[in-house]
Symmetry: C2
DNA sequence: CTGAAAGCGCTAACAG
DNA sequence: CTGTTAGCGCTTTCAG
């Protein structure tokens, strides 16, 4: 059915050496660009290599040098633009320094992540960047550290693990935005996340992802500060595919005591939540206020444009990769990494709730 | 600054063999799960391996077997959701068959693609999936074929190269949608693409990307059929970053003879074009009609929802990966691959042009 | 500067 | 079933 090209034996240094009439060692030196080689020899070797179509076998090279010039990257979902952008930051940076990237998708599945890390280690990548699915349970990350291979974390922290982490601290913005919503009269503020959890959220429950934990925590602080009860029943985890997210959203806006504001944990969730809201005939922000994490171009295009919490995603990827490469090459850590700060961007999706009049408020 | 873990020497089969008091060969067989090993030996070896924390060196393994269980994937821009989704299709499929993926981004730069392919070949990936930046100039793809390594193409064709290609044929839909626009009275239909080109488009000019060539061609056919002049001046290439796309869009809708309809070649372009349209105070579809390639969730959320040309992107990735793996493993090609068809989804962004009354029409 | 030889960690004959 | 002996293609001593 096709030109199967008979996978003919690759030409090796030995072949080149013979053709150039020098020793294998000299040929290797000329080809690998190391050691001492006379101009004459180099020329002959290079010519022979060209002639024969020699290509180095990087596997063999890596075996000897112990370096593969490859970075392992483990993320939850490359389809999610958040990670798409971060990955771009990583690959761009890697390429600049001559590294390649092996990318593994875990679907935020813990076991898949463990396997991924192991495979990468076995493949002898020079270092790893992982966005850990769990910030509390990570024996595989410890394993990486024990192996001595450089590791940096992206997007989420691993509590108690001594490792450079490139993530923004969402606590403060979450607090701020919640406070603002409360100030407008919102008491029923929902939060929707894909975070997997065996049980539904209960107040004070430990959350596996530091990223999500910080966000919920910021919300709670804002409520506490006003001595208002935190609507824990509106924190919804396990929002998986579009269908289930929409179901959650519908549930949130219906019923006797519906949410008057919804915060979506990422762009994919936001898309489905907004769709569900539109379908149920409610209007943003008149009937319900809306905030999402991450700032994508489409959020400016819909009406009203969405109020978002932006984070420097590309920059995070870039910073993670360059820190990792520094570690790999044994260079000292940069004096100070880039500041990775989130930012609340006010647009048009937040307003006072219809029930504002009923609320008992007194804000500082 | 951190726990540098002293990268201690890895434990090898030899170490395990010694600990288990068997020969290296037997240990290797037990560990590698091949050959004949008695239960007793296997047990002792596995126990010793566990004890010592043995991990196989996949590099060494690959050197011997000639298989790395790795697929090389070369795309233009992983940040573009189109490729994000396709990549997801690839990685999901690869994982199921036990393959990993090395991903390289070319930024649609021809030289970067050549380098990418070479690096992948040198790293001895088992096969390659590439979305070629050029459908007309691809010595590096020939090189791959000569190397005998399996190759499949994604998203774009390479004219004259005998290679399985997973892309949808956009000719017919492009023709259809253009015809429809013409039917509504549009004569000034623009097409905006990121395709790089030294020169601005002129009618009949050969386009480097088969994908784009097909689309423009479909448009031309529709005009020709109606004996209408094809507005070649409205085909805009080189639309790079958001800023330049917006500039192009502004240019299209201004001037003495502006476009009355715009077709965006992908989601990223669409985002910027729609934004530019909104900013210039024009309304879709009253002032200008709009169609984009690819169907993303956000296109349903903006008002009016966008008319799009959907394509099975994930499926393309999936199909490409599974075909490649089949080739690698020497299995016969599937009787028939999945049908990869595009589909025009009518939503609300297309209407009659304001100038419809002036047009001289007579459609079949 | 050059070449011979050893070895990276593993698999693959080949005899027992 | 088991052990011995060769390599895979390259880098790296170590002598010259």
């Amino acid at each position: 059915m096709s030109t199967e090209g008979s996978r003919r034996r690759d030409v090796t240094v030995a072949d080149v050496a013979k053709a150039a009439k020098v020793s294998k060692a000299q040929a290797a030196r000329a080809l690998g660009n190391y050691g001492a080689v006379s101009d004459d020899v180099r020329e002959r070797v290079l010519a022979a290599a060209e002639e024969l179509g020699y290509r180095p076998n990087e596997l063999a090279r890596s075996m000897n040098t112990g370096r593969s010039n490859t970075l392992g990257v483990v993320v939850g979902d490359i389809e999610n633009p958040h990670f798409g952008l971060a990955t771009r930051g990583i690959t761009d940076t890697a390429k600049k320094s001559g590294y390649n990237v092996i990318l593994i998708n875990t679907d935020e599945e813990k076991q898949a992540e463990v396997d991924a890390v192991r495979v990468l280690l076995d493949k002898r990548v020079d270092g790893l960047i992982v966005a850990p699915a769990s910030s509390t349970d990570f024996p595989h990350l410890r394993e990486v550290q024990e192996s001595g291979r450089p590791l940096v974390l992206l997007d989420r922290a691993a509590e108690g693990l001594e490792v450079e982490t490139f993530a923004v601290d969402m606590g403060p913005v979450s607090y701020e935005s919640t406070k603002q919503l409360i100030g407008l009269g919102h008491l029923r503020i929902a939060f929707v996340s894909t975070l997997k959890s065996e049980q539904p959220y209960r107040e004070g429950m430990a959350l596996e992802s530091s990223q999500i934990a910080d966000r919920v925590d910021g919300m709670r602080r804002a409520f506490q500060e006003q001595a208002l009860p935190f609507p824990a029943d509106l924190v919804r985890l396990n929002a998986g595919d579009a269908g289930s997210i929409k179901a959650v959203a519908r549930d949130l806006v219906t019923g006797p005591d519906p949410a008057t504001a919804i915060i979506a944990s990422d762009g994919l969730i936001a898309l489905s939540v907004v769709e569900a809201i539109q379908e149920s005939g409610l209007r943003i922000p008149d009937d319900i206020s809306f905030i999402m994490y991450d700032d994508f171009a489409w959020t400016r295009l819909i009406s009203p444009p969405l109020t978002v919490i932006a984070q420097p995603v590309y920059e995070m990827g870039r910073a993670a990769a360059s820190a990792l490469i520094r570690k790999i090459e044994g260079r000292p850590a940069a004096a100070s990494g880039p500041e990775l700060h989130p930012r609340l961007i006010q647009r048009g999706s937040v307003g006072a709730p219809r029930t504002a009049l009923e609320g008992t408020l007194s804000l500082g």
